[in-house]
């Protein structure tokens, strides 16, 4: 999906979603809590949590929410890629101090859902998402890197 769908959750948060399935509205549990029980389907990773610990359980998880305590903390970009590279198909949500200029690179790392603390300007986001015709690198999204376009 190129344009996000805006959704309001039961908890009152506003989500920007780049997927059209039903919002998974079960509250996310912490990584510790998730690893200590077997029936949770939504997990929240703090910036310092090791996303690899979720890999054995990806089949039962519908939502992973990754926290961005400040927009300068880039650990969540790697966590997202690790989950997508391992085949995670569920909703991957960036939550916290997420700025509009960060959403395009986050999309490339595999995030398809955003819960920014402060609302982002929809027109700016639309413009930013369409700005770069193609990326230089292969990442966790479906975009085709320049080297692939050059060499097929």
């Amino acid at each position: 999906m190129v344009e996000p769908i805006t959704v309001n959750t039961h908890a009152g948060a506003t989500l920007l979603r780049f997927r059209d399935d039903v919002v998974h509205d079960e509250p996310a549990v912490t990584l510790d809590a998730f690893l200590g029980q077997t029936n949770a389907t939504a997990v929240r990773l703090e910036a310092g949590d090791d996303a690899r610990e979720l890999l054995p359980h990806l089949g039962q998880i519908a939502l992973v929410e990754i926290s961005f305590p400040t927009f300068r903390d880039g650990r969540g970009y790697s966590a997202a890629r690790i989950l997508r590279e391992a085949g995670f198909q569920g909703e991957l949500r960036a939550a916290g101090d997420v700025l509009v200029d960060q959403i395009p690179p986050m999309r490339r790392c595999g995030f398809d859902s955003f819960a920014p603390e402060k609302p982002v300007d929809a027109a700016t986001l639309t413009k930013l998402l369409a700005l770069y015709p193609q990326p230089y690198q292969k990442a966790a999204d479906a975009r085709v890197p320049v080297w692939k376009l050059r060499h097929g």
């Binding site: 090791d50 927009f71 300068r72 903390d73 880039g74 650990r75 970009y77 790697s78 966590a79 890629r81 590279e85 700025l99 200029d101 960060q102 395009p104 690179p105 986050m106 490339r108 790392c109 300007d121 700016t124 413009k127 930013l128 700005l131 770069y132 015709p133 193609q134 990326p135 230089y136 690198q137 292969k138 990442a139 890197p145 320049v146 080297w147 376009l149 050059r150 060499h151």
Partner: protein, 541 residues
């Protein structure tokens, strides 16, 4: 040289548009300065003491005459008629207006240039050997690999909010002209069983905690270089310290967990990603390499030079290096005139260097990490004409690698982080030693105006660090550093000095060196043989 295709051009053009929009949002108040700061920094725009400073990328230090003239044009139109070449082989302009910055980027884009990632906590401009493609001792031209890295690192989605800035250098010779092992990642190309590959060093750097990079991978071939580097960066992005800006570089991570643990983590990460198809095909490296095929050299170029003009002969011996092609030479143009500002060039001087490159030098120029300019492919028969033109423009200082060929940061004259001035001190040292610098031989002197070490003082044969001592500028002296293949970190001599005092102390050090040296030993060799003590005695009595 590398030439953009439609893809490269469209990415740089999009960046201009994106930055123009970001500046408009900042000026309208839609973004706070705190939110704007990392965005402008990723485009090389700093707020300094007096104005904005814009740093323009010169990827691996390579330019053609059209690009060089554009740098002169920007100096003339948007700055005060000069630019400052930096230790990252870039150029920076110190008097820029925020509202002009998008127009400057648009002008740069017309000559395939940009300011992408010249600051910020991301992968910075890839640096390389200024003699690449001309040096007799290289196994290959390192620049195709550097260009591959430039593309890979440009707007890398995962590594744009790293714990701290990240610097990579690529060399392909045993002689290290790029301070490779003082980089976050240093890459040395070498051949094994006829195959070109890379040795990877990680965790070097200067700053307040200088460290020499450790060898982490002894050989990786081009087909997996990017995925290996992704693994190196991912381990850093996840585990590098974010609690303290002064401990956030990758060198601290390696220091804290140890090189073996770091290597194990990288190998585990590499195993997970190496088969995901992240690496461009070898055809991409071949495409880029074909553009660096080298100029069509004059095979009949005479190999002799008329040395009858003694001033020319001095410059020839000091600033001209051997070229791999007979009848040719590598010229280094010193931007360190005695009494001048290290690394500065006026718009007219920039134009002149562009003209010389176009007329005599196969249209190529290089910026060196020591803040000089190189004409890499010059026929020996043209050296005298070039020297004459340089002399008339005040660019013929014959001091390459001598004590007045000083690396200096902008210091307290420009920089809001500095504790002390660097430029006036460099000028005083140049003036003090101008008459006897040739007698002292190779002596690399480097000055930083604060512990961030932008002036590479740790790597100076003689290093100077400016500090603030109870509100006055004070200078500490270091001896024994090197950024070359014999890499080492300098040691502090003892208590610091005021500005004149440190110049006197350097003179006592060099006097003692002249007494102690054996045969044609360099200062650094004498220091390594005799140690600090004789110099301490000379300085402090």
């Amino acid at each position: 040289m590398y030439a953009y295709d439609e893809y490269d051009q469209s990415i740089v053009d999009a960046r201009v548009e994106e930055f123009r929009d970001q500046v408009e949002r900042r000026l309208s108040g839609a973004m706070t300065e705190d939110q704007f700061k990392p965005l402008r920094l990723m485009n090389g725009l700093y707020l300094q003491l007096h104005a904005y400073m814009l740093r323009v990328a010169v990827p691996y230090g390579t330019l053609d005459s059209r690009q060089m003239r554009m740098l002169g044009h920007i100096a003339r139109k948007y700055d005060r008629g000069y630019g400052h070449f930096t230790t990252r082989q870039n150029i920076q302009y110190n008097w820029i207006k925020l509202a002009d910055a998008p127009d400057i980027l648009a002008e740069l884009a017309t000559v395939q240039m940009h300011a992408i990632q010249t600051s910020g906590n991301c992968i910075r401009n890839i640096s390389s050997d200024q003699f690449a493609g001309a040096a007799a001792d290289e196994v290959a031209d390192p620049r195709p690999w550097a260009e591959l890295l430039r593309q890979w690192s440009t707007f890398h989605p995962e590594f744009t909010y790293l714990p701290r800035k990240f610097k990579i250098a690529v060399i392909a010779a045993d002689e290290d002209r790029a301070a490779m092992r003082l980089h976050d990642i240093g890459i040395q190309l070498l051949k094994r069983d006829g195959v070109l590959g890379a040795k990877i060093f990680v965790g070097g750097g200067m700053g307040r905690t200088p460290m020499i990079a450790h060898e982490v991978k002894d050989f990786i071939t081009a087909d997996h270089l990017m995925s290996y580097l992704e693994a190196c960066l991912r381990v850093y992005n996840r585990y590098g310290r974010r609690d303290n800006i002064y401990k956030a570089r990758i060198k601290i991570l390696l220091h804290e967990i140890g090189v073996d643990a770091y290597r194990d983590q990288v190998e585990a990460e590499f195993a997970a990603i190496r088969d995901l198809g992240l690496d461009p095909p070898l055809a991409e490296l071949a495409r880029i390499t074909a553009m660096f095929g080298g100029p069509d050299f004059d095979r009949n170029a005479p190999d002799i030079v008329d040395r009858s003009d003694p001033d020319f002969a001095v410059w020839l011996d000091q600033n001209v290096a051997a070229h791999k092609q007979p009848g040719h030479a590598i010229v280094t143009i010193s931007l360190k005139p005695i009494g001048g500002i290290p690394g500065d060039a006026s718009a007219d001087q920039i134009d002149l260097m562009a003209d010389l490159a176009e007329r005599y030098g196969h249209d190529e120029l290089r910026v060196t990490h020591a803040q000089n300019i190189v004409l890499p492919h010059i026929r020996k028969a043209d050296l005298y004409a070039i020297w004459t033109a340089l002399r008339d423009a005040g660019l013929a200082e014959a001091n390459l690698d001598l004590i007045s060929d000083i690396i200096a940061c902008p210091g307290l004259d420009y920089c809001s982080l500095a504790n002390a001035r660097s430029i006036p001190l460099a000028q005083k040292i140049g003036e003090r030693f101008a008459g006897r610098q040739r007698e002292l031989g190779e002596l690399k002197l480097k000055i930083s105006g604060c512990i961030n070490a932008c002036g590479h003082h740790h790597a100076g044969h003689i290093g100077i660090l400016g500090v603030d001592k109870k509100g006055t500028e004070n200078y500490q002296l270091l001896l024994g550093g090197s950024g070359a293949e014999d890499v080492s970190l300098g040691k502090i001599t003892g208590p610091g000095f005021d500005e004149d005092g440190v110049v006197d102390a350097i003179e006592r050090v060099t006097d003692r060196y002249v007494e102690l040296r054996e045969a044609d030993e360099r200062f650094l060799d004498t220091y390594r043989r005799v140690g600090m003590q004789p110099f301490k005695e000379a300085i402090y009595g």
